[in-house]
C-alpha cells in the first residue's frame, strides 16, 4: 500500500479545531514545513506538544492556536519563545502545563488505549494547584498509595519530520527520536515529511528509531522540512536563520509572509 502523498494534502486534511501534535524537541528535528503550511491555512487548531519549539512559536505567531498543552516551550540556546510569551502574557491563551514524565505517561496511556495513566509526579509542586487542570490525585486501587492520574493524550493529527521514509510508510529517524515513536502509536492520523522517500530502508543501527508503516497514514518528500532546526546527520541547527526568525517573529505580518513562503530549506 503506497502512502506517498503531499504536504498540501496532509494539511488540508487537518480538522479545524482538531488536536494537533508535532514530533522532535526544542530546536531539533521540528516539522517546520508542516507547521508553516498549517500556519498559512489560518484555521485554528488545538496543540499538544511534548517539547515545543519554533514550530509552535510560528503557529502562535500566526494566530492559529486556540489551546496549548506542553511539557516545555522554548528555543533552547536561543532563549524563550517570543510568541508563546505574548500568547501567555498578553493574550490569555488557554494552556495546560504538564511535566515531562506526566506527558510521556499520557501518551503511553493513549498507546495502550486506556483513558489514564498513574504517575508519582506532581507531589508538592504548583502545577497541580492550578484551576482546570486535567490531573487528579487518587488512591491506588491495590495499595491505597496516593498517585497522580493523567489523561491519555490522543492527537487527531501528528506531524513528524524524518530523515527517511519508504513508500510503504516505514520511517527512519537518525538521532534522538524524542517521543515521536510513542506519539505515532497514540495519534489517530500520522503524517510524516522526510528528507528522502526511498523504496526500502536499509541497515538501521540501534541508535536510530524506526516507526512501522502500520502507524503511518501518509508520507511526503519535503527536503529541508525541518527548516533551521537540527536534523542529525543531515544538517546542524542553523543559528543564523534561527536568529533571524527570533528577531522578527513578534511581527505578525512577517510571520504570515514567512509561513506563506513555506519553511526555508
Amino acid at each position: 500500500m503506497k502512502k506517498v502523498s503531499s504536504l498540501d494534502a496532509m494539511v488540508a486534511a487537518v480538522p479545524p479545531h482538531g488536536l494537533v501534535s508535532f514530533g522532535g524537541g526544542g530546536m531539533v528535528r521540528k516539522p517546520m514545513a508542516a507547521a508553516a503550511a498549517l500556519a498559512a491555512r489560518e484555521t485554528p487548531v488545538r496543540l499538544s506538544v511534548f517539547l515545543a519549539g519554533p514550530e509552535v512559536d510560528l503557529l502562535l505567531g500566526a494566530g492559529a492556536v486556540e489551546q496549548l498543552d506542553y511539557a516545555y516551550v522554548g528555543l533552547d540556546a536561543l532563549g524563550l519563545s517570543p510568541n508563546f510569551r505574548h500568547a501567555r502574557e498578553k493574550a490569555g491563551l488557554p494552556a495546560v502545563e504538564w511535566t515531562e514524565a506526566m506527558y510521556i505517561a499520557g501518551v503511553e496511556a493513549a498507546t495502550r488505549r486506556v483513558p489514564f495513566a498513574p504517575t508519582r509526579s506532581g507531589l508538592g509542586v504548583d502545577l497541580m494547584e492550578l484551576p482546570g487542570i486535567p490531573f487528579r490525585r487518587f488512591p491506588c486501587p491495590l495499595t491505597g498509595e496516593e498517585l497522580t492520574a493523567v489523561p491519555a493524550i490522543r492527537p487527531d493529527v501528528l506531524f513528524l519530520h524524518a530523515n527517511e521514509v519508504d513508500t510503504l510508510g516505514n520511517v527512519r529517524i537518525t538521532g534522538d527520536g524524542f517521543l515521536d515513536a510513542q506519539l505515532a502509536r497514540a495519534a489517530r492520523t500520522v503524517y510524516v515529511t522526510a528528507e528522502r522517500v526511498v523504496d526500502r530502508l536499509e541497515g538501521m543501527s540501534e541508535r536510530e528509531t524506526t516507526i512501522s508503516r502500520l502507524w503511518v497514514s501518509a508520507v511526503a518528500e519535503v527536503p529541508g522540512g525541518a527548516g533551521f532546526t537540527a536534523l542529525y546527520p543531515d544538517h546542524p541547527l542553523d543559528y543564523a536563520q534561527a536568529g533571524d526568525y527570533v528577531a522578527h517573529c513578534a511581527d505578525r505580518e512577517w510571520v504570515r509572509a514567512y509561513a506563506a513562503k513555506g519553511a526555508p530549506a
Binding site: E89, E97, T99, G124, V125, Q182, E206, E208, Y232, Y239
Partner: protein
C-alpha cells in the same frame, strides 16, 4: 598535560570544577547548563569514568565518551555512543534514581524550592518561561538535585519562588513525607551554598576566590544563614582540570555562554567556529 597552563581562571571554570565533583557511581550525568555539561565530561575524564554521558542530551547517543563540547553535540559525540536509548527509558532511569541532574533554575528560594516556569502569576504571567519540564518528576524520584545559577542576584535568589517547579525543605515537604529530590547544593558565580534541612534557610558552603560574605548577602534576596566561623574559599581548579577544560573538553569556549555577562554575538561566533569540528 601542558605545563604552560595559565593558573588564572574564569568563574565558569570555577563552577565547572565544583560541579565535576558531585558524581559518584553508575549514574547518568546531565545538566541544563553548559558548565554542568562540561563538568560531567570532566568528571568522566578524571574522577568518575563509570558515569553515563549523553550526546548533548540526545537519547540516541547514549553512554558517550567525554568529547569536546560544541553547540551541535550529536555530530561530535554520538559516534562514540555505546547504544541508543529513548525518552521512555530516560524516565525509567529517573524512576529508578539513576540520574544525577544539575538544573539551571531562574529562581531559587531560601528553602531550595526552584522555578523555571513563570515569573508572576502562572495564569497571566509577567514572563512565561519554559514550563516546569522534568523538575517535578526528578523531584519525587531522584535522591538529590543540584542547582547552577549563572548570575547570583536578588532576582534569582528570592525569598519565595513565584511558581514551585521543585520543592525545597520545610513544613510542606515534611507534611508530604517527601524524602527524595532534596536540593544537594547551589553553585553560582559567587559561591557554593547549602540549604538547611528544616527549611530555615541557605548557608554558604564556600565563597569563590575574592568574593566576600557581604558581596553574596547583597546579591541575595533574603537573609543568608549566619556563617559558622570563617567561610572557606572554594577550591580553585587544578592545573590538570584547567588543561582538560581548555584543551580537551571545551576548546571553543562554549562555557562562556554561562558567563554572568556573556559577550554579545557569542552564540553566532561559536556556531561559526564549531563548523571546523563537525564532520
Amino acid at each position: 598535560m601542558s605545563s604552560a597552563v595559565d593558573p588564572e581562571f574564569t568563574v565558569e571554570e570555577q563552577v565547572i570544577t565544583v560541579l565535576a565533583d558531585i558524581y559518584r557511581g553508575e549514574v547518568i550525568a546531565v545538566s541544563a547548563t553548559v558548565c554542568g555539561d562540561i563538568a560531567a565530561r570532566l568528571a568522566k575524564a578524571l574522577y568518575a569514568p563509570e558515569i553515563v554521558l549523553m550526546a548533548g542530551g540526545s537519547m540516541a547517543g547514549f553512554d558517550c565518551a567525554p568529547t569536546p563540547k560544541v553547540l551541535n553535540d550529536e555530530w561530535v559525540t554520538s559516534p562514540t555512543a555505546a547504544r541508543g536509548s529513548d525518552w521512555t527509558e530516560a524516565f525509567d532511569f529517573i524512576s529508578a534514581g539513576k540520574y544525577a541532574i544539575t538544573m539551571g533554575p531562574v529562581q531559587v528560594d531560601r528553602t531550595g524550592s526552584c522555578n523555571i516556569s513563570v515569573l508572576g502569576d502562572w495564569r497571566r504571567p509577567k514572563v512565561a518561561m519554559i514550563g516546569s519540564r522534568g523538575i517535578p518528576d526528578d523531584m519525587v524520584r531522584l535522591a538529590e538535585m543540584t542547582f547552577h545559577v549563572r548570575r547570583h542576584s536578588p532576582r534569582a535568589l528570592v525569598e519565595k519562588v513565584d511558581f514551585r517547579c521543585g520543592l525545597g525543605f520545610g513544613p510542606d515537604r515534611d507534611r508530604l513525607g517527601l524524602t527524595l529530590g532534596v536540593p544537594r547544593m547551589l553553585v553560582t558565580d559567587l559561591g557554593v551554598f547549602d540549604f538547611d534541612r528544616t527549611g530555615a534557610g541557605m548557608s554558604v558552603r564556600s565563597l569563590h576566590p575574592g568574593v566576600t560574605f557581604d558581596d553574596v548577602q547583597q546579591a541575595t534576596g533574603f537573609a543568608l544563614l549566619p556563617p559558622d566561623g570563617a567561610v572557606p574559599t572554594t577550591r580553585p581548579p587544578s592545573e590538570e582540570e584547567l588543561y582538560w577544560i581548555r584543551e580537551r573538553l571545551d576548546p571553543l569556549g562554549v562555557r562562556r555562554l554561562d558567563s554572568p555577562k556573556p559577550p554579545p554575538g557569542l552564540l553566532a561566533e561559536l556556531a561559526e567556529r564549531e563548523r571546523e569540528l563537525l564532520p
